[in-house]
Amino acid sequence: MLFIPPYVPEAFLTMYLPAIYAGLIVGFIATMAIAMKRQEIHILILTDLVGLAMIFVVSAVGTDLAEALILPGLVVELAETLAISEILITREMRIIEQDPRRNLSKSSSIFPQPFSLNMEIMTTAPNFIALVLIGYGIFLTGFTGGAVAGGGIVLYALSKKARGLPVLMLDGIAGVSGISWCLWIIGFLLFFVAPQYWLLSLFLAACGLLLKVASKVGLIGLLMREDIDKE
């Protein structure tokens, strides 16, 4: 039984060129679209495509290493989208705040335009889906598990129509995620200092990351709930 070949198999070698050319073309389309667009929110959406092109180029290598490298890339994309969209919102709010007369939409605080996601799935299935996602995430154990379980929490939070206590809740979440991050670092260091306790450190790392990602992704759910279901 040959578990791994000494060299990259032929199949990956032939798949490399189409994959990387596809990545270059997708990247070209995305960048050109960005260069032609003026509205900033559209540029923000289009940068998502640039991230997809990056996944193509990285995954084309076709080794376990490539797979391990895709994950940071994806996470960086996610993180930057989150931070930048928040900054965009802040900027617009500050602009309106500084000169309310110029932009009459300050009235939006007087007459909030109610917006609700009237999707069937939002009212019937979400709790079940959330449960499945969280369960599957725990089953996976590790970074992906954390993300999947976090997705479950997002769905759960989205489906609940409740308002209030966001700040208290967030403080708690931030605390949990900080602790789990420390757990994670300790796990990593333990690996190098004392390899014989690898199982312990693995569990520290994996569970720390699970907690962390789940709680962080849960934050997005809270944000969404605050904004979307305010009626």
């Binding site: 073309i25 990247g27 260069a35 376990d64 989150l82 690898w198």
Partner: protein
């Protein structure tokens, strides 16, 4: 166009992302004429797609041999000397995953597959520093976003009062409110028009 005018345009932050995107796109398209080929001598190689699945291994795409805790699996890292416990957890599965693989012969064939310890081995052990950075990036962006949202964009601590005051003011200046409604209406309509086109 005079070159000074062009240079002045470069000083506007709004134009910079578009300029950057343009130059990046040019370089990407130049990449199509660069001769490219995958070097077959890679680190951490994996078997050809579907080979392991066809052989019916329990954790198919990620089976690298070895036995958890006792016998290391086969991994080809850059510096094997720096990783003493290498390959020990390559076959690692979480307990629920182990149970499922014991009752299902096709555990590895579907999207249902467990990641096993292989990627964990790379992510946490041989390239653990990358993962520290990755999770730090995520953590920092969440700190930024949650700080902004708690302190600013989502801050509704004084909301109730504010809305009440606003409404009072609005009632007092009902003509203004009527105007606002009209303007909002117009704005929404123009937005709709723009969207339809």
């Amino acid at each position: 166009m005079r070159i000074g005018v062009l240079w002045n345009k470069l000083a506007d932050p709004k134009n910079i992302p578009r300029l950057f995107a343009f130059s990046l796109g040019i370089i990407l398209i130049v990449g199509l004429i660069v001769p490219m080929a995958l070097n077959p001598d890679q680190l951490y190689p994996r078997p050809a797609p579907q080979v392991q699945v066809d052989e019916g291994l329990a954790i198919a795409p990620y089976d690298r041999g070895g036995e958890v805790l006792s016998q290391p699996g086969i991994i080809k890292p850059q510096y094997p000397d720096n990783a003493e416990a290498l390959g020990m957890i390559t076959g690692y599965m979480s307990p629920p995953a182990q149970w499922i693989s014991s009752i299902s012969p096709y555990f590895g064939t579907s999207i249902y597959s467990s990641p096993g310890g292989l990627i964990d081995e790379i992510l946490y052990y041989t390239r653990g520093f990358d993962t520290i950075l990755e999770s730090s990036i995520l953590m920092m962006s969440f700190i930024i976003a949650s700080w902004l949202s708690i302190n600013y964009t989502m801050n509704r601590k004084n909301d109730e009062k504010e809305i009440k005051a606003d409404v009072k003011k609005a009632i007092n200046e009902s003509t203004q409110v009527a105007n606002e409604v009209k303007v909002n209406d117009l704005k929404a309509r123009s937005k709709q028009l723009r969207r339809d086109n």
